[in-house]
């Protein structure tokens, strides 16, 4: 049970019921659709740049609590960062949720994202937590406009 409580922490539930940056950005520079074929969850991610800084970011779509909360937390954490910082955050976040940690379990630099650490106990939910991040990465690299978690 404690593992479950760790997964569904207050902050996670709060971001699920009141997702931040849950909006469409009409003049976004990048719009990416993320799709998790496992469950049919879909998100649209909107990113607006100023230089190589993420000036604004928003998302919309349906999904489980983990994917919604993760997307919401992500938008808060990457807004105002530049591409390189966001990429680094992606790597750290990925290490945390997959439990593939080299060295110390120190996620302080992840800020609020740390509340998603409980996902590592539920391998089947990693894709829920990383859907928005994969979409972001693709937006940063501006390759495809459609990503899946597969």
């Amino acid at each position: 049970m404690s593992e479950l409580r760790e997964l569904y922490q207050e902050i996670v539930l709060d971001h699920n019921s009141r997702p931040r940056n849950f909006k469409e950005i009409e003049d976004a520079d990048r719009v990416v659709e993320g799709y998790n074929p496992l469950c049919g969850d879909k998100i649209m991610l909107y990113v607006k740049f100023e230089g190589d800084t993420i000036a604004d970011i928003g998302f919309q779509g349906t999904g489980c609590a983990i994917s919604r909360a993760s997307a919401s937390l992500m938008t808060q954490q990457v807004k105002g960062r530049n591409v390189a910082q966001a990429e680094k955050l992606f790597d750290r976040f990925h290490e945390m949720v997959t439990g593939n940690v080299d060295g110390d379990l120190d996620f302080e630099d992840l800020g609020d994202l740390e509340v998603m650490a409980g996902v590592s106990n539920f391998p089947s939910r990693v894709k829920c937590a990383t859907l928005s991040w994969h979409s972001l990465r693709s937006a940063l690299k501006s390759q495809e406009a459609h990503v899946t978690t597969e």
């Binding site: 569904y8 049919g40 829920c128």
Partner: protein, 423 residues
């Protein structure tokens, strides 16, 4: 609500009237004895795959320990033994589905392969440009995609029987879809995401009246209903061993001999030939024409043990127990605030698909898993069904004869817990 009572059951039950002794049958399933996440396992994912009784496990162990050999053409003791057991299962299957002849039983990998075989061999022969194939809204992807592939290749058209809000086929619409262009109908006997038991006997009669053959996806029917392919008069019927308490990787395709005779082989190779020269190959007789290569011998023999086991319990007894479980499950789940059952057909098998207000099925699944309760969440390989009901996914508890009312109570308690955790 009437339940898993087979509409087509002309054969009398061989079993006595005594109800199923659940605690006793549970002891046959080693996996059910274990704890998961510190709780007794509550396994409610039987539509995905069923658990195996030790009778099946022991049969597999014995096969690999004492009987393993390649079948057919062997002159030595073990090969004869393995061949005899392999072919004995064919006879078991023939009896199980009341087929007319053993050569109408083809061993395949599972339902998916059975349907692909029908599409690629029978379908290709019959379906041409401008023709139509009829399926239904509630098909598993494995009864959609093979027909889509065929239709695309042939320039034919896929037509789809709609369903109502309870998840029942609209038979009037079906009759309207049938036309001289219809070359084949392929529908599911029991829906894996809704539980609906379709009136396939009537569907088959209607198609036959217009000379159209019918294939049936029996993946979810075989574990619950007494089958009689001669009474149904279906042209093809296919099911998977792993959903019937047998091994994975093995299944059955029944086809009427007249069709199988006329169909080209599905795969070429050893065992499916009589003689091969570079100029000409003569194909083997039925059913070997469709069993190219070394088959899943252990799987076939294990499937035989599974069918023996199920018949030993008796499908009527299984049906009665599951009907009562379903009735109880519907009663308890419907009483939960904010829970909506998806699939409320009047005639259905023990499958309970549901959505919870404000909670995504994935979260329901993880929280129940935390209590050792295994259900499935997602689209269940039936995305058109999800679309029909305007949802992305459901949570699904699917019951087998070894499930108990106490396990349904645990599920209900777990669902209440979901609401607590999710706030």
């Amino acid at each position: 609500m009437t339940t898993a009572k087979p509409a087509e059951s002309p054969r009398p039950s061989l079993t006595s009237e005594a109800p199923l002794d659940v605690q006793r049958v549970r002891r046959d399933f080693p996996i059910l004895q274990q704890q998961v996440r510190g709780r007794p396992l509550v396994y409610l994912d039987n539509a995905a795959t069923s658990q195996k009784p030790h009778q099946v496990i022991d049969t597999l162990t014995r096969y690999y320990t004492k009987e393993n050999s390649n079948i057919h053409r062997g002159v030595h003791y073990l090969s004869e033994l393995a061949t005899t057991k392999y072919e004995a299962t064919r006879s078991t299957v023939k009896r199980f589905i009341n087929a007319g002849e053993e050569r109408e039983i083809v061993f395949v990998r599972g339902t998916t392969e059975g349907l692909n075989l029908v599409a690629q061999s029978f379908g290709r022969q019959r379906v041409g440009e401008g023709d139509e194939v009829i399926i239904s809204t509630m098909e598993h992807h494995s009864n959609i995609v093979p027909w889509q592939m065929l239709c695309e290749e042939r320039g034919a058209r896929l037509r789809v029987i709609p369903i109502n809000d309870d998840g029942e086929l609209l038979l009037d619409e079906y009759e309207k879809l049938l036309s001289p262009r219809t070359k084949l109908v392929s529908v599911v006997h029991v829906s894996n995401s809704l539980g609906t038991i379709n009136p396939i006997k009537r569907i088959i009669e209607t198609a036959h009246a217009q000379g159209v053959p019918v294939a049936i996806d029996g993946a979810q029917a075989a574990p619950h209903l007494r089958l009689d392919v001669q009474d149904l008069d279906c042209d093809f019927y296919t099911f998977s061993g792993h959903k019937l308490f047998g091994p994975t990787g093995i299944g059955v395709l029944y086809g009427k001999a007249e069709h199988l005779e006329a169909m080209p082989p599905y795969q070429g190779g050893g065992d499916m030939i009589k003689s091969v020269t570079f100029e000409k190959t003569t194909y083997n007789d039925l059913p070997y024409k469709f069993e190219a290569g070394t088959p899943h011998i252990a799987g076939v023999i294990g499937l035989g043990a599974a069918i023996d086991y199920v018949e030993g319990i008796g499908l009527d007894r299984i049906g009665a127990h599951e009907s009562e479980l379903l009735r109880y499950g519907i009663e308890r789940l419907s009483a939960i605030d904010g829970l909506k059952l998806i699939g409320t057909a009047g005639h259905k098998a023990s499958i309970l698909s549901f959505v919870l207000d404000g909670v995504h099925p994935h979260d329901v699944g993880s929280i129940l898993d935390g209590e050792g309760i295994a259900i499935r969440t997602g689209h269940h390989c039936t995305q058109p069904v999800m679309e029909r009901f305007g949802i992305a996914a459901t949570a699904r508890a699917s019951l087998a004869f070894y499930n108990t009312k106490e396990e349904i109570d645990a599920l209900v308690e777990g669902i209440h817990h979901v609401s607590e955790v999710m706030g």
